[in-house]
């Protein structure tokens, strides 16, 4: 895919993120398992890109490599033209497991305040207040996470990510552990934040409707090991709304397109990888995923 590409020296103008031929192999004592075959794509400034793929295909691994939490075995990620070798302060990550990612021993205020550095204390407090206002939770600023519902906890996690004023937000299945109504509310919240804060978004999900509803482009991955199967532009008008957008005929055809691409990928690789049959080491624990695809 990337045979003739020369390493990019400086970032392309207008590009927030460039992923070049990224690969990840987990080397074990007995055998190794390839989580990501070769994945490459770009995300423009202020673009909303979603990576969708069957559960266990290596999406979380991919996101961790992009965020600098995990070193890739091959290829590289460039953020604003600079090679990513560790966590970057301009990139904020929202985890799926908000109950672990928010610290239960800190109040909402202190959770959001924790990553903030520099400036006067009052300025930081102001930033916390603004971020909580963006997610509509200022009333709960002195509550502990355990006193909030799951959806509210994830909103705190989003506020914490916003508070560092990132150029880009990375989200790993952020709505996978909440009920359907809360999920729709959170989707709209993230769309509003994307528009208001002019932030670049990279969302990873297994939910096909969500990928089409949220994005400017959908990147469809194959089953493990992950390759880019297709990049699909979503030309639905913005602002989007749960009732109008999802009722549009164009939405239906796009979601069918993604659905077929994924199920076909699922069938193909099932035939070709039965011999290896290496279970994905990272996503074995996400039980709730399969319902959306089977």
């Amino acid at each position: 895919m990337n045979d003739d590409a020369t390493p990019v020296a400086a970032g392309k103008p207008g590009m927030a993120l460039e992923v070049h031929a990224l690969g990840k192999t987990f080397v074990g004592r007995e055998r190794s398992s390839v989580a990501i075959g070769e994945v490459g794509f770009e995300v423009a400034d202020r673009e909303f890109v979603t990576v969708v793929g069957p559960s266990g295909c290596g999406k979380t691994t991919l996101l961790k490599c992009i965020a600098g939490l995990m070193a890739p075995s091959a290829g590289e990620t460039r953020f604003g033209g600079a090679r990513v070798s560790g966590p970057v302060s301009d990139m904020a990550l929202v985890f799926q497991d908000y109950s672990r990612s928010l610290f239960p021993w800190l109040t909402v205020r202190k959770n959001v305040l924790l990553p903030l550095r520099g400036g006067a204390r009052s300025d930081r407090e102001q930033t916390v207040l603004e971020s909580l206002e963006a997610v509509g939770l200022t009333r709960f600023i002195d509550h502990y996470p355990s006193q909030l519902s799951g959806g509210m906890q994830q909103r705190v996690a989003i506020a914490r990510a916003l508070a560092v004023r990132p150029r880009m937000l990375l989200m790993d299945e952020p709505f996978a552990s909440v009920d359907a109504q809360t999920r729709a509310d959170l989707e709209d919240l993230v769309l509003r934040i994307h528009a208001e804060f002019e932030v670049t978004m990279l969302l990873v999900t297994h939910d096909i409707d969500e990928s089409v509803y949220m994005s400017d482009r959908v990147i469809i991955l194959t089953t493990s090991p992950a390759y880019v199967q297709e990049v699909l532009p979503i030309e639905l008008p913005r602002p989007r709304a749960q009732d109008v957008t999802k009722a549009a005929p164009q939405f239906a055809s796009l979601r069918t397109h993604v659905y077929r691409a994924i199920t076909q990928a699922h069938g193909d690789t099932r035939r070709s990888t039965t011999a290896a049959a290496a279970p994905n080491p990272v996503e074995l624990s996400t039980k709730q995923n399969s319902a959306f695809l089977v």
Binding site: K64, A67, L69, P87, S89, A92, L93, F95, D97, R100, S101, F103, P104, W105, L106, L114, P115, Y144, S146, Q147, R160, V164
Partner: protein
């Protein structure tokens, strides 16, 4: 913390049983003529005349001081040691054989060793207590760190928290439930070692007083000393659980919701 009928019942059973046991001992020893088993009122009046306040400053205060210093030293050494072992594979490989050896030594052995190393004095007693208490604290801390959910550490990493922020705002609070498990185990060891150290090498303290009274045929004094030691143990445990309830309030809230 609502007072439910079950809770009230439990409390009355506890109080009732205690009262019954005290009553039975009272009755059985009431007209005892054995010099070795004095009656309960005799023990209590001895307790009052010995500890209020004749020997309070000469024996109780030194014992409390030894206990507190030894326990404090064990926490100050044990928690960082446990974290270092938990965080570094090298530290784990280097310390595991030594730690396993130290942990398997019967605690009383440390007192003669401490006497020959430091001579009789405060250092020897503090060392005896601390040396035994370090291991439950360090091993529980290490185990607690190893059992942390990876997302907790990944979050700290992803948000670029510096070393001290990571240590004091994330790792220590996250491990603190397990640290308190270690503390509760070692507080029992601490009282045990205090008594041993005072009986083997001391000329004051509650442990010394029990042995001294027994050897001087002052049986009521011996019992009064034992009663004082029990109160010391109960007091140490009470202070610890008070601290635990304060520090781990978030943890108990969390468990209350999950269960």
């Amino acid at each position: 913390m609502a007072r439910s009928p079950g809770r009230l019942l439990g409390l009355s059973v506890e109080v009732g049983t205690t009262a019954a046991v005290i009553g039975i001992i009272w009755l059985l020893t009431a007209d005892s003529h054995s010099p070795f088993i004095p009656s309960l009122p005799t023990i209590l009046s001895t307790f009052r005349s010995v500890w209020l306040f004749q020997r309070f400053t000469s024996d109780v205060i030194p014992s409390v001081e030894r206990l507190a210093l030894g326990f404090f030293a064990a926490v100050v050494v044990g928690v960082p040691l446990g974290l270092m072992i938990g965080m570094s594979k090298w530290m784990r490989m280097l310390t595991r054989p030594v730690a396993t050896f130290m942990r398997s030594l019967p605690p009383p052995l440390m007192v003669p060793v401490a006497i020959s190393l430091f001579q009789i004095g405060l250092v020897m007693k503090v060392f005896s207590i601390a040396f035994v208490c370090i291991w439950p604290i360090a091993l529980n801390t290490e185990d607690g760190y190893a059992g942390l959910n990876p997302t907790i550490l990944e979050t700290a990493h992803a948000y670029g928290l510096g070393f001290w922020k990571r240590l004091f705002k994330v790792i220590l609070p996250a491990v603190s439930p397990r640290i308190f498990t270690g503390l509760r185990i070692s507080v029992a060891f601490a009282v045990l070692l205090l008594v041993l150290a005072e009986q083997l090498g001391s000329s004051n303290g509650i442990g010394w007083f029990v042995l001294y009274s027994q050897q001087g045929y002052d049986v009521p004094g011996m019992w009064a000393g034992i009663l004082m030691l029990a109160l010391l143990g109960i007091g140490a445990n009470a202070i610890l659980s008070l601290a635990e309830r304060r520090v781990l309030r978030w943890h108990f809230n969390l468990r209350g919701l999950d269960v």
